[in-house]
Every structure is written in C-alpha cells, then in structure tokens.
C-alpha cells in the first residue's frame, strides 16, 4: 500500500513540476522577447496570472460536446504522456523514489503514438466550433505535423537502431555507460530532431497554426476563459514533455532537477531564438522545409547508425 501511495504522490509531483516549469519557461520567454524588442516586458510569472484570470472568467458558450471535451482531452493526453516519460535518470536517487511513474521498457514507440493525441483532441474540438478559421488552422496543424514527424521519426529510428532498444531508460543508461551523449555520437540525428522541434514548439517561423494575422489565432479562436486556461495548462505540460524527452534521448538525461532545468532551458531557447528573427512560413513552404535538409540529415543519421 505504501508503495502505491508514494507513487501517486510522485505522479502528482511530476505533474505539478511539469506545469510549473512549462509555465515559467513561457513567462521567461515573454520577458526575454520583450527585452529583445526593446521593452521592459511583463514579469516572468505573467502566465500564471493569466491562467488564474482565465479560470476566473465565466464561460457560457456551447459549441457541442466536443467543444467541452477538447480541452479535457488535451490535458488528459498531456498527463498520460507525462506518466511515461522518465523525468530523471534511472540511476539517480531522486528517480527511484519520486519519478518512476509508469515508465516501462519499449515505451518509445508507444510515446510516438501518444504524443499526437493532444493535437487530435484539439482538432476534434476546433472542428465542432464551426469557425472557419479553426478548421483551416486544424488543417494547417495536421499538415505541419506531417512535415516535422518525418525527421523526428527518422531521428528516433536512428536512435533505436544505434542502441538496439526502444526503452528510454536503456537509452539513457547506455549513454551513461559509454560516456558520450547521443547528441555527439550521432549529431546528424540530433540535428534532424532539433529541426523537428522547431515545428513542434510552434514559434515563428512555424506558428502557422495560430497565425494571428492570418487566422485570428486559429483552432483556439472560439475557446475562451476556462477552456483556454485548461489548454494553456496542457500546452505547458506538453512543452515540458518534449523538452524532457529530448534531454533523455540526446543529452543523457539528468541526475537532478537543476541539471534537468539547465538542459531543458538550453533546448527551449533554440526555437525561441529562431523565432525572434524569422517571419512565418506558408504551409507548403514549412512542409518543404522539413522535407528538405532535416529529412536528409535524418536519413544520414540512420545510415550512420546502421553502419
């Protein structure tokens, strides 16, 4: 019994941390963006304030069942995926007590499927609002996903071939034993995955889903108040998931939480930096971008891994 209690507590802790880290990163990004734009900018806690406000708004819209369901779907998907991610390195002392959650061997392929669940919920919900902007936004989102999934999957395939395992824990353990991070042992795959991450985070130039000047914020245009708040929460958890997964796969995982924060933050800044200086791509240009160099790098990575 005691074991289960501890596990539930650990799961809760994981969720809260993921949420807090994701939100704070968003806040820090807003602050940094403001500094780049010659402004003072909001506090780094601004996202939390926004969230509290959104939750305290009254909501009286009815857009059908899926309209209510979509935000729940997103947050459920986010939390489910989170449970399967090893937040810290399995050899670390913190891990065995607090963060084992539901990780099991062979979870990489499972994760690959689960990660798109959130977007799917979004698509279903946005589809039912009847707003043409939402519908177009969803189409764009799915097209973009087709774009960046290819280099991403190629990178993961290279990884699995190279280490001959589909378990994230094993991958971390092998990196630890050999002393070389995947990032350095197969740089091409890492680069391919990094390019794919630009698309995943939806910062400029790949913010084509919610492009305000084109689609008035896209899929979420009919969601306000509490719905938007829940979506925001789900989104920040997802950001944490993606970052942690990258750290686990390519940077050898983290032994302690400060180490995790440093590594994830460094990764998070890549799309943010890229976004500051880039205009937005059109949809077909974005797909062409992903199917160009990132895919070539991914294939190269696979070849090297097979070698």
């Amino acid at each position: 019994m005691e074991g289960i209690g501890l596990k539930i507590l650990g799961a809760l802790l994981t969720t809260i941390m993921a949420f807090a880290v994701g939100m704070t990163y968003g806040g820090i990004t807003r602050k940094l963006t403001a500094r780049v734009q010659n402004r003072v900018g909001p506090t780094i806690w601004q996202n939390f304030i926004d969230l509290v406000k959104l939750q305290s708004k009254k909501t009286n819209i009815y857009h059908g069942v899926m309209g209510h369901f979509a935000p729940m779907w997103i947050i459920t998907a986010a939390m489910t995926v989170l449970m399967f991610i090893p937040v810290l390195h399995p050899n670390s002392t913190w891990y065995s007590t607090w963060f084992p959650n539901l990780t099991f061997h062979g979870d990489l392929i499972f994760l690959l499927y689960m990660m798109v669940f959130g977007s799917l919920g979004m698509a279903l919900g946005a589809g039912q609002t009847g707003n043409p902007n939402s519908a177009i936004g969803v189409t764009r989102g799915l097209s973009q996903m087709v774009g960046f999934e290819i280099p991403f999957v190629l990178a993961l395939v290279a990884l699995m071939v190279q280490y001959k395992t589909t378990s994230i824990q094993d991958i971390m353990a092998i990196q630890d034993q050999s002393g070389v991070w995947m990032m350095f042992s197969n740089p091409f795959s890492f680069l391919a995955a990094l390019f794919a991450s630009l698309g995943m985070f939806r910062y400029s130039p790949f913010d084509i889903v919610g492009a305000p000047a084109e689609l008035a914020s896209g899929p979420v245009s009919e969601f306000g108040g509490k719905y938007l708040g829940v979506m925001m929460t789900g989104g920040s958890i997802f950001a944490f998931i993606k970052l942690t997964l990258y750290v686990d796969l390519f940077m050898g995982g983290a032994y302690s939480i400060p180490e995790l924060l440093i590594k994830t933050f460094a990764l998070y800044m890549v799309p943010v930096f890229y976004g500051w200086v880039s205009p937005r791509y059109r949809t077909e240009q974005a797909i062409r971008y992903f199917w160009g160099w990132p895919t070539a790098l991914g294939i190269l990575g696979v070849i090297i891994a097979v070698w």
């Binding site: 519908a135 177009i136 000047a213 008035a216 200086v277 880039s278 205009p279 059109r282």
Partner: protein, 368 residues
C-alpha cells in the same frame, strides 16, 4: 478528384490581420482564393458633408483625420488647392518647411509600414522596433506643431509657426538615429530568406495593366513605371531637392518593399537637405479673420505624394465662407479596393494580410 468545397471567409472587420476597420470577403478553395471582395464603410464619417458645414479654416480639423497614419499630405493638398483658387502666395521659407514636414510624415509612415509588413508575416521583433522608434519622429512633430498624430500645421498661406529653437539639431540627430536603425531593419527583413521567399512572386500587379487599373504610389513604381507626383508636378520645394525615385521590376510584394526601403532613405536625405537649404524669412502669409474669410468662386485640383500614392483634392468654392465641395481621392481608393480585389485572386489565404499591407490600404481614406 472532386473539387474541394468552397468556403467563404470573412477577414475583418474584427481581425488582427486587417489594416484598419474594413472587411475582405474571400472565397477559398483549400488554401487558394477564388474570389475576393473588399467591403468598406465602417469608418464613414461623412467628412465631405461635414466640410460643407464648416468654414475654410475649420475644415482643417476634419481634413487631417482623413488618413490617420499620415495626416499631413491631406492638409497640404487642401491648402494648395485653396491657395490656387484664391491666388495666395506662400513665402519661400514656408515651402521648405512644408516639404520637410511632408517627408517627416512619409518617414513615420514608412516606419509604420515596416511594422505592418513584418507583423503580418510574423516577424514581430521588427514591428516592435520600428513602431517604437517612430516615437522619436513623433517627438519632432510635437516640438514643431504641438500634436503627436494630428498636426494642423500647414495652413493656406504657409505654415502656422516657425521652427522652434534648437529644432534643427534635434532633427538632424533623430535622422542619424533613424538611418542607423533602418540599416538594422534591412538586415532583419530584407536579408531574411524567409521574407524573400514569402514576398517574391506574390501579389503580382501586371505592369502593362497597372496604369489602367489606377494603381498609384509605391505599387506602381514596383511595376517599373516611374511615376511620382513629386517629380511629375513638383510642388513646394521639391524641385530644389535632390532625390531619386526608385523603380523596380516585378510588381510583387518584394518590389514594392524594395521601393519603400529606398524611399525611406530618400526621405531622410530630403529632410537633411531642406534643413540645410532653408532660407530665412516669413513663414505665414496671414489670412484675414478666419471666421469671415471668403474665397472667390473657382475650382482647383491639387495632388501630393503620400506614402500610399497620390492624394488628390478637388476643391470647389462658390464665393462664400464655406467650401462648396471638397472631394478627396485617397491613394487607397483604387489600390485598396479594385486592385486588391484583382490581385488577391489565386493567392494563398496566408498572404491576404501580407498583400493588404504591401498595398498600403488605409480604409478611412477610402470611405471618408
């Protein structure tokens, strides 16, 4: 394969991508626009009707509100039309000041355009920079005229008052700063591969049709046609200024952006020249009691070059204290309605806001 369903999409009046308060109704098939129509009238304030009820000088409060981003060309055009009917002379110094004010207005409008063009393509950093730096130009205006946006500085017979003390130094310093910043903007916008990809070959105006369609301003010069009121009919002190009117081939957004890029620098150069060459003397050929000021009967057509293109005023006087008719033909009237409707067809839905910004659509000028 069955044809995709045609969706009707209303871009505006409430939409972050629209330039002002107007609406573009587009029919889309997939991502491609098959039909576009521009709906205006959301800002109709009946200016031309109201001017009939104001006297000649009171009209100025209304005139500058014709186009919010760039009010000065309106004042100048009206003042020139009134001067032509009345035969009023303008002192030499006032002409130089007017030219300088016009170029300052153009420059601040260019900065706003930088913001709009990059903001509509998702490059928010540049938008924030240029709109923020525009404040320095508005400061100059405030020193000169007392107003940030609306100036009412140019009056029939000259300008309202002389340059304040120390204005020249401050203006030159600001120009140096802006010039430095413009280089930085270019690095961010024009050297950017993504912007080039987005802008080239999009929103093409065929150069053989451009004149017939009534295209004016930077879009026309982007078609390789050298047309600019400042050299076609030099007004004020433009014949004494040394500047080039750039033209580019292609007629797409890229060409229009290039034209504006060079014109912004030309504006800085003209402002410097004007400050340099400005003669001493009177600035205001005083009008009589404005409440009883009558203008002899007559008609006049005056035009000036604004950022968006030529602005024309047809002013009719019947010899009384009140204007009989003041008709405004803003540059955006054709650029923003008929031309935009034509070039939007066949474009991607993602480019609507991008094209509108490059055409310089300013709705209050269309519906007045």
């Amino acid at each position: 394969m069955a044809r995709e369903k045609e969706t009707t999409l209303y871009i505006g009046p409430q939409h972050p991508g629209i330039t002002g308060n107007m609406m573009v109704k587009v029919k889309v098939q997939g991502d491609t626009i098959t039909n576009a129509s521009v709906h205006v009238g959301y800002l109709h304030r009946a200016f031309e009707k109201l001017i009939e009820r104001r006297n000649w000088l009171q009209s100025f409060t209304i005139l500058c509100r014709f186009c919010v981003p760039e009010p000065d060309p309106m004042e100048l055009t009206y003042a020139r039309a009134v001067e032509e009917i009345e035969g009023r002379e303008v002192p030499e110094r006032a002409k130089y000041i007017r030219t300088m004010v016009m170029e300052m207005a153009r420059l601040q409008s260019f900065m706003l355009w930088y913001g709009g063009q990059s903001g509509s393509s998702g490059l928010y950093t540049l938008g924030q920079w240029s709109v923020g730096d525009r404040n320095y130009l508005l400061d100059l205006f405030e020193d000169l005229t007392g107003g940030r946006i609306y100036h009412m500085y140019i009056w029939p017979g000259g300008v309202r008052r002389d340059l304040p003390k120390g204005f020249k130094d401050k203006a030159l310093k600001t120009m140096d700063y802006i010039e430095k910043r413009l280089d930085e903007y270019d690095k961010l916008l024009f050297d950017n591969v993504i912007f080039q990809k987005r802008a080239q070959g999009v929103g093409i105006i065929p150069s053989d049709k451009a004149i017939e369609w009534g295209v004016v301003g930077a879009p026309l010069r982007g078609c390789g046609i050298k047309a600019d009121v400042r050299i076609d009919e030099p007004y004020e002190a433009y014949d004494k200024a040394d500047f080039i009117v750039p033209t580019f081939e292609g007629g797409d957004i890229w060409a229009r952006a290039q034209v504006r890029r060079i014109e912004a620098r030309q504006s800085i150069s003209i402002i410097r020249q004007m400050l340099d060459k400005m003669p001493e003397g009177e600035v205001y050929n005083k009008v009589p009691n404005p409440m009883k000021w009558k203008i002899p009967a007559g008609e006049a057509w005056a035009k000036t070059e604004s950022v968006r293109g030529e602005v024309g005023f047809y002013v009719v006087s019947d010899g009384s204290e009140y204007p009989r008719r003041v008709h405004v033909k803003g540059a955006a009237y054709t650029n923003g309605v008929t031309v935009t409707e034509k070039i939007l067809v066949g474009q991607n839905i993602a480019d609507v806001s991008f094209i509108l910004n490059s055409m310089g659509v300013c709705p209050p000028e269309i519906e007045r």
